[in-house]
Amino acid sequence: MRRTSQFAVALTALLLTACSTGGGQTSSQGDEAPLAGETVELVVPYDPGGGYDVYARLLAPYLEKCLDATVVVKNEPGAGGLLATSKTFVAPPDSLRTVLTNTVGVVGSQLADAPGASFDAAKFSWLGRVSAEPNVLAVAADSEFKTFDDLRESTKPIRFVATGPGSNEHVNSEVLPELYGFPAETITGFDGSDSARAAVLSGDADAHILPIDSQLDGIESGDMRPLLLLSEEPHDALPDVPTVADLPPEQGQDATLDALMNLSETGRSLAGPPGMDPEQMAALREGISCALGNKELLAKAEKQQRDVDPLTGDETVNVVNEALRAPAEFTELIK
């Protein structure tokens, strides 16, 4: 009996250690780094395994080195990413809680006045942008649509797939047909981009708009055919795919196109709670810039085909504010 209870105690101890890793380590290590010895939370608003999770776990060790602090990656899925973002909005300003936001979704849902957008994107303490991959429109490799012009000339509605209203996929699928003036419908309700792609591959739907890093594996395996890059400049990974600069939209749609481009510029960005202490904010901004400039991190990102396209904190604020100034005709489309 004694041996068994000792075993139980040992198990409990093991469990407690497992829980407390990353807990408070507050031993200060001199005054060279303002956040030395502190614990910074890096919240991923989605389940493990997705793009945001990959970026956060890639960034964390380098951010630790640059800040001389402990960085804990935490998954807080919920409400399509808005739950963790809203929690950050009301977090204490000194909580050192940062969230890697789907800024397109955050700004988009605020513009669309979606239920659940209980925050003001302009008020977050923006700490920097990690990446902003352009979106790619792709169809199945065996689709009847060989070029984007085929799609534009279609008389029957093009069927786009998307996870849910407010998602990046959904915003783009609603706006693009308007820009180019072709009939379309968006089928929502898929539980993830992967199931949505399955519907395109099986021929149940026609087209799918996703950020390039999510689209690339399907393109390289020969399952998907890219038709349009939703960007004004070409991308190294898909040099032959036409951009919106090559295929200009209908007349009078410039403002809408600009709004869409501005929105995608916000990309994956790091935010802290509003009203963060200026010294803490400066330290975090510097640490993030330092980590995103690390050669080893960049090499690892390239190996995973993940773009890194950093912006400083100030630049991120500008990009977010620019996107928030979208004209009414754009916000009407994504509502």
Binding site: M1, G80, G192, R197, A198, S221, D223, K300, Q304
Partner: protein
Amino acid sequence: MFQTFFQSLLDVLQPETIAIMLVGIAIGFVVGVLPGLGGSVTLALMLPFIFDMEPVQAFAFLLGMWVVTATTGDITSVLFGVPGEATSAATVFDGYPMTKRGEAGRALGAALLSSTQGALLGAFFLALSVPILRPLVLAFGPPEFLMLTLLGLTFVVALSGRNVLKGFLMAALGMLVALVGIDPQEGVPRYAFGQLYLWDGIDIVPLVIGLFAGAEVLQLMLSKTSIATRTADNISGIRQGVRDTFRHWTVVVRSSAIGIGIGIIPGMGGSVSQFIAYGHAQQTSKHPERFGKGAVEGVLAAGANNNAKDAGSLVPTIAFGIPGSVGAAVLLGAFLITGLNPGPEMLTTNLNITFSMVWIMVLANIVAVAVSFLLIRQLVKLTLIPGTWLVPFLLVLLGVGAFTASNNINDIFVMLAAAALGVVAIHWDWPRVPFLLAVVLGGLAERYLFLSYSLHGWSWLTTPSVLGLGALIVFVAVWPYVRAMRRRGKEPVPARVETKDNDLTGVGK
């Protein structure tokens, strides 16, 4: 192809690869036993370690770890009634009552060996399906998925045995709970009461933990005894558990088949298939009334299913880069890191890597189960610890298990509410499984109904596959009554229709 198949075994058997796999297995073993720490989260944590590995080594490490969590998760489910993994929840239904009866050794033997058998069948299927992998995945769409969830829901009602009405009402309550959250079609929050937490609906993990484990721990607290008051002779218990897997081999095979089938469907999620397999095992058993009270077939169904499912979820991952579960989604990251493109290449130039995954699943499971069998005697003794000693430890497990699902304190409240419901259900003898199944399947049924309609209008209703599945649903619903009526015609009516003999397949035992 055969040469590649055996060549890939040699790849896996390289000393360095084996060493890496053993490390993965050891991590997976601990993670599986501890509730809360999920297999997919751990996979994500381990992803950075594979940057410098060869593809086969990377999969030996990650896949070895992942398949082992599914096996060892059953240990905690059986011994303490707390699922070690979300995918081991159905093992609790009958494994824990067996432990309370003193048959922990038998339950563990059955759970572990059926897990290995499920993994072997799943791996076998994965190897066999290589030539037809791609058409197989595309053959099914939302209409077929909808019919499968309806089939699961039909099992629900049949699950309740003698209390069809009680079961039906619990299922209806479950459907209501499934409505909570953002509707998948229009993005409108339902029954969320302004709480963002409720937007994603009620999470299955805290619900399972509260409904089953929470309720049991409360009972243990009140009874002030140990989980088991006696244990049968362990060694003969284990032997009996092992024999059970062969005696009920049809349950093992069919549950594995269900696991593979549901694993292939992206989005059905790993935690669903165990319940469908469990429901099917009860439906086809000669003694459905014993389920939930310690029927070894229930343990076998859950154990075999959950390992076979992992193999199934690899099928669309390898074929298209479309993961069949969260764990497979993390593995997809490993494909990219090691420079592999899921898709046709995996079946041609990289065929050896695909086959090496088959071998890794087989070897990792065999190692994990062999180690578990060595530990069973010690583990079973844990159930003799007095409740007053064990309860604080179990409460920690419950809290951590519920909390780590999404790192949200509200999960604890859901778990406590579910525990209260569980106690009420036990006290007045209302079945809990139909409720849980309806929560899981209700949301999926809605999603696939809307998707089927927006993709195909109403034309999907008349496709052969949907009609075939529809006929199967009607058959499952009606068969018990037909059988009972036929028997009534032939022989004098027994006072209590206790043994509903409704073996669907006619294979029998």
